[in-house]
């Protein structure tokens, strides 16, 4: 669907030029002209006061019978037989989509000896589980998992696939989407059903979190998306639930796997596991110097939480990239998020705004972080954090 300007109707007001998020409209000979940078998002359609911009439907040659594709699948990512939380978060959201579509919800479980996870996958909402087991899946590899997921798609034809936007999910998703020849929307933070078409409406941040885009995949199946961990809540497990387990034989041969995992190095301790943490204490440039980061760690320890960092801190080399929260770092959704000396650039907010409670400490009362904070303290982190640690210790000792 291309967006076109009807030059004879254009009144040269320029409203579309400033409304275009992609800078794809220029004024040429006093008429709006749409350049190659256009993504057909349609933002200009709404602002044109005279309706001179239209969406043209293009013919597509797609040999895909959409009616054959049914059901919502959730890819249950696991490592070493442990499912990541994001799979359960997606089952809870996938349940809503499946119900709205009147179709079944299936979990896809690929791994070595992972059958013990089926109970939990049913309890979290799946009607059915596709289970593929084999020693080829002991560790994640692009090749083994792509072959298997593609094979499942070709055989069982799902309408929708949800995957976690983890490093492995973002490695596997595009490879599978490309092999199947379908669309994939990355890093979604919201899902719904587009009322007009009944398609899944995938919403994701773009331009560093400055804008949100809702994306559809109208003519290709399955409709695929990766979803950021921690944006949806897991629903409470219901262990009375069960369903059909479809065991599928592993078709991967050892020679198909072209990468060899030599070593797995775990870094740091639990404190790095930001995705699963309930309390996160993050520090930013306002901590002034790397040594003062010890205060962040002490506050995190006192609260039993994990340590995070802003991009500025990671760029300055105070903390490794694994600690980075934000658009290009990790997305977190703890119960409590402490932002200490973090100004709250939009890129940072994109990684933590689904936290239940945000507490901001910053000496600049104008810092944007205060706009999204539930509790804010204007003050020097070097004074406030030690005082906080004292107070919390007092309460804990008394409690």
């Amino acid at each position: 669907m291309a967006v076109k300007v009807k030059p004879e109707e254009c009144i040269s007001c320029g409203a579309c030029v400033s409304a275009c998020p992609f800078g794809a409209i220029v004024m040429e000979d006093d008429k709006a002209f749409i350049t190659d940078a256009c993504t057909a998002c349609g933002a200009c359609l709404d602002v044109c006061p005279v309706g001179a911009i239209i969406r043209e439907v293009e013919e597509k040659n797609i040999a895909m019978n959409k009616e054959d594709y049914k059901g919502v699948w959730v890819y249950i990512e696991q490592a070493g037989g442990q499912a990541r939380n994001v799979g359960y978060e997606l089952l809870s959201e996938g349940r809503k989509l499946a119900d709205a579509m009147g179709q079944e919800l299936a979990g896809v479980l690929i791994g070595d000896k992972v059958e013990q996870l089926t109970k939990e996958v049913f309890a979290r909402g799946a009607d059915k589980i596709y289970l593929v087991e084999g020693k080829e899946f002991t560790h994640y590899s692009t090749d083994a998992y792509t072959i298997t997921l593609t094979d499942l798609i070709h055989t069982y034809k799902p309408a929708v696939i949800l995957m976690g936007a983890t490093n492995d999910g973002r490695d596997l998703g595009p490879r599978v989407a490309c092999r199947v020849g379908t669309g994939l929307t990355a890093d979604c933070t919201n899902l719904g059903i587009d009322e007009a078409s009944g398609l899944v409406a995938w919403t994701r941040p773009a331009f560093g979190g400055n804008i949100m885009a809702t994306i559809l995949c109208p003519d290709h199946r399955p409709q695929m998306g990766t979803i950021r961990p921690n944006v949806f809540k897991r629903s409470a497990p219901d262990y009375s639930r069960s369903g059909e387990i479809v065991k599928v034989t592993c078709k991967v041969k050892a020679a198909d796997i072209r990468t060899k995992l030599l070593e797995l190095i775990r870094v740091g301790t639990e404190s790095v596991n930001l995705e699963e943490a309930e309390i996160i204490v993050s520090g930013g440039r306002g901590m002034s110097k790397p040594e003062s980061f010890a205060l962040i760690e002490e506050l995190a320890n006192t609260l039993g939480g994990a340590v995070g960092a802003s991009r500025a801190v990671v760029d300055a080399g105070w903390k490794p990239a694994l600690y980075q929260v934000g658009q290009t770092g990790k997305t977190v959704g703890p119960k409590v998020y402490f932002a200490c000396g973090i100004s709250g650039a939009i890129q940072h907010l994109a990684g933590m705004s689904s936290s239940d409670i945000v507490i901001a400490i910053n000496k600049d009362p104008e810092a944007p972080i205060f706009k999204i904070a539930n509790y804010g303290i204007v003050g020097d982190v070097m004074d406030v954090i030690p005082a906080l640690i004292d107070e919390i210790k007092k309460i804990k000792a008394a409690g």
Binding site: L184, T214, I215, L262, A321, I359, K371, Y375
Partner: protein
């Protein structure tokens, strides 16, 4: 060693602001830059060339002004630059973009290593790299934070993941996407900039590559943007007012106890 780095010219999204009145992006005055992660990819390529010899080519797809980004890459030390630019490529989503870039890579003949940034900062999809690898049918390793060795056509790299790192070996040819921590990209030298200004950047149109025209542009893009909007911001909470840090801390802790966080 034939190395190709895929780069994208992007608006500097850290400079993008939202107009509070119209709620639209203010693009005016926002500089176009080489996607920062792609600079890490180029730096990695240049370091490989220094160690193992060979040639580094940068490849981009985009409007003609993307030449500026390629010039910067040449100034940093790339040997060649090629721009794929054609109206037919416009409006491509990740699948169509990777189809086009893969056709350009095929035209180049032998390529041992393709390097990409982990994602572009305007779209943040992280999909074009893996999709190029799939179109070409080659091995991929994403989120590479270190390239250890290349020995006998086998590359040994470290891949970042949630809990730490994986050490992975793969036979060339391979496509790697790299993270920021892999290196510190060098700055262009004066000599490099002068050389870059003299260097011809070939433009490949849709007629210069073997592509399926139906798989390009909006027509070849399975995903379609339906709506663009500005994210909601949360309502302002409570600012804790106190004369000293100690009092403020005590008040905050009291609130946290009330809502059962402590």
């Amino acid at each position: 060693m034939e190395i190709v780095v895929c780069v994208k010219q992007v608006p500097d999204t850290t400079e993008v602001k939202i107009d509070p009145v119209t709620n639209t992006l203010i693009r005016q005055g926002v500089p176009s830059i080489v996607n920062p992660f792609d600079k890490n990819a180029l730096e990695a390529a240049l370091q490989l060339r220094e160690k193992y010899g060979g040639k580094v080519t940068v490849l981009s797809m985009g409007p003609l002004q993307s030449k500026e980004a390629l010039k910067e890459c040449l100034a940093m030390g790339a040997d060649e630059a090629i721009l794929m630019s054609d109206r037919a490529f416009g409006g491509s989503d990740t699948l169509a973009t990777s189809h086009a870039l893969a056709s350009g890579l095929r035209k180049m003949g032998r390529v041992d290593i393709i390097l990409c940034g982990k994602q572009a900062i305007d779209g943040d999809t992280a999909q074009v790299g893996p999709e190029i690898a799939e179109h070409l049918g080659i091995t991929q390793v994403t989120y590479v934070s270190k390239i250890n060795t290349i020995d006998n056509q086998v590359i040994n790299v470290e891949r970042e993941h949630e809990e730490g790192y994986e050490v992975i070996e793969a036979q060339l040819p391979v496509l790697l996407t790299v993270v920021k921590s892999i290196n510190e990209p060098r700055y262009p030298t004066v000599k490099g900039t002068m050389k870059a200004n003299r260097k011809e950047i070939p433009i490949w149109t849709v007629n210069d590559v073997e592509v399926n025209h139906d798989a390009l542009g909006l027509k070849g893009s399975p995903t379609q943007v339906r709506r663009i909007f500005t994210p909601e911001r949360r309502v302002q909470g409570e600012m804790i007012q106190a004369d000293t840090a100690k009092e403020a801390a005590a008040l905050l802790v009291k609130r946290l106890v009330e809502v059962k966080i402590i």
